[in-house]
Amino acid sequence: MFELLFFSLLNGIVTGLLLFMLASGLTLIFSMMGVLNFAHASFYMLGAYFAYTISLYVGFWPGLIIAPILVGLFGALVERYGLRYVHRWGHVAELIFTFGLAFLIEEVVQFIWGKDTKAYHEPEILQFALFTVFGQDFPAYKAFMLLISIGIFIMLLMILTRSRVGLIIQAAITKPNMTAMLGHNVPLVFMGVFGVGSALAGLAGVIAGPALGTFPGMAVVLGSIVFVIVVVGGLGSLGGAFVASLIIGLLQTFAIALDYSVSDLLAVFSITTEADSALRDLWTLSLPQVAPILPYLLLVLILIFRPTGLFGKRET
């Protein structure tokens, strides 16, 4: 039991921190522009595919640097020539634009790289078991993912709270007009934050590609989950996104690891059910089965009872 808990905890934290890398960019972009970027997970996918292509020629490590930069540049272009143009049609059009972009990027990825899963692997230097407890290996690559995610989190926190750039970004988020009056180029700040947010998503893709697989559906798999995190954590709250990422990461790994079902619960109270009743699926429901719907259940409940999210201060 303890071994199960230990590994679920570790895996949950790895997943959670990976999700945070996506969610941090998304929540910053949201608090800036008031637009939830549907294409954010597509940037994550692009990161993985770029890194895969780069790794074919020069190996994993240069891809770790180059791919996020490319994705960041692409994101900045999307903001400059896409979102800023669509802004004139209003928020709903912006939301639909990012939705269409996500659809388009998936099609383009299928067009360029094909529909099959790409053989994008972790570098050989990280292909060993870091430690073995209770007879189970913990791969070094997961530790590497953990390290990168924590490093990014600390760096982001430092930049946003301790540096001049961070101050200007925070000012531009809360009072864009006033910041512009003071002589700062607010559109440039927006473009920069959008680019950096996309680059972070790209980086997440680079390091998640080998672990979770590089295939055209990878954006859809993670896309809605990242939304859940941003909304649950509170729109525009970085700390909230962090907590929510960990919650969702742990929730998913634990729900899969702990194999309990409703019938177990009923057995505790010694209630018996008919095997062929219309509700039979309800009685045999098990935790791993409901694991995929838990985040959405959380999302809907949060939106109903606490629309500001866990740590958010404002509603949208």
Partner: protein, 432 residues
Amino acid sequence: MSEIANTQTGEISAPFAKRFGPWIFLAVALIVLPLIFSSNIAVYTMNLMGIFIIFALSYNMLLGQGGMLSFGHAVYFGLGGFMSVHFMNYIEYEVVVLPMFMLPIFGGIIGLVFAIIVGSFSTRRAGTVFAMISLGIGELIAASSLIFVAFFGGEEGVSGDRTMGPVIMDVDFAQDIEVYYLIAAWAFVTIALMYLFSRTPMGRMANAVRDNDERAEFIGYSQRKVRFISFCASGFFAGIAGGLFAINFEIVTEENLNALTSGVVLLMTYIGGVGFFIGPIVGAVVFTLLQTVLSNHTEIWQLYVGVMFVLTVMYVPQGLTGIMAMHIPAYRMKRLSGLVVPYIKAGIPTILMLSGIVSFLEMVHHVRAAALGETMMSLIGIEFDTHTVMPWVISGVLAVVGGYLTKSQMPQLREAWEQANAPLDSGEGASS
């Protein structure tokens, strides 16, 4: 207010032909169409069209008329379909005695019931919160559909047999054409109902809440109630569309209520134009045509649809119907003929450019996807070898020359457009 009053009095005094003309035209078109396009594939396409028209119109009750952006509208469509297919099986096993053509009503009812449940908490706000709740509910139901096998049938879905119902007037729905007339009848009724709904004070208030919810509140309407009623009506009609889908295909699966279907309905509604009642109809027709015709000719049709969608959102947010509506002022002033020549002049190079780009994409796709050693491909009947230089040069030249010529024609086109839309000397029609 004055505008509403004007249009109302205008309608009442409008002559019979103007008021009922479009409806008579629609009815005649629905009856005559299968006589003109009688092949199997055409009837299949039109069946799908009818279903999507109802679905897209119900979606536009939210997005266009109510200002609610939903990412989970397929839930009501899919649930309606599942309910109908279950009733189809009940009829077959004679649990209930019902004529088959009544099925969509049950689809509509479950759509309505679910819309009441979801709408009771999701319509509190429009905007991002509503969009997120709809997304969450959509994912929730789609994921649950794989868990609750008794109702949703798991991955293979639920299937039925539409021919097993009681035979009324020799119609047992064994032929697709019989299903076509059923769908056409339902489409006519639901289009009329949805149009009438948009004309009721309730429909007008939905527009008011969309435009400015605060002001609507100050007038004394509860924005939440207005949204809730629109939402329920929309769920009802989506359920009817789902019921027709069940009759047409005799199978409903998880795919019919997942995020992809929700995305498709958003796509066709938006391409058609959300600002007009007929917009979703145009969108559904165009999308179905693209889906059935284009997918016969190319494997990458979804790429084209995606490009088209993004371009629509960026440059013509009014949609295809909006482009048509832009020509109404010029038409009223009888200056449309002045636009024909510039359109042809700009259109030919544009077609050249597009054919260049499309052939380039098709060749790239062919080189990547074709079996090893198979280098010949055909485009619009022309056979050529993709591993030679010539086709690439031709497509490149087409794209570049076409693009250049299109660009050089643009100033002339703009000038002609402004001339056609310049206010009349008397100032009449300038404001419209």
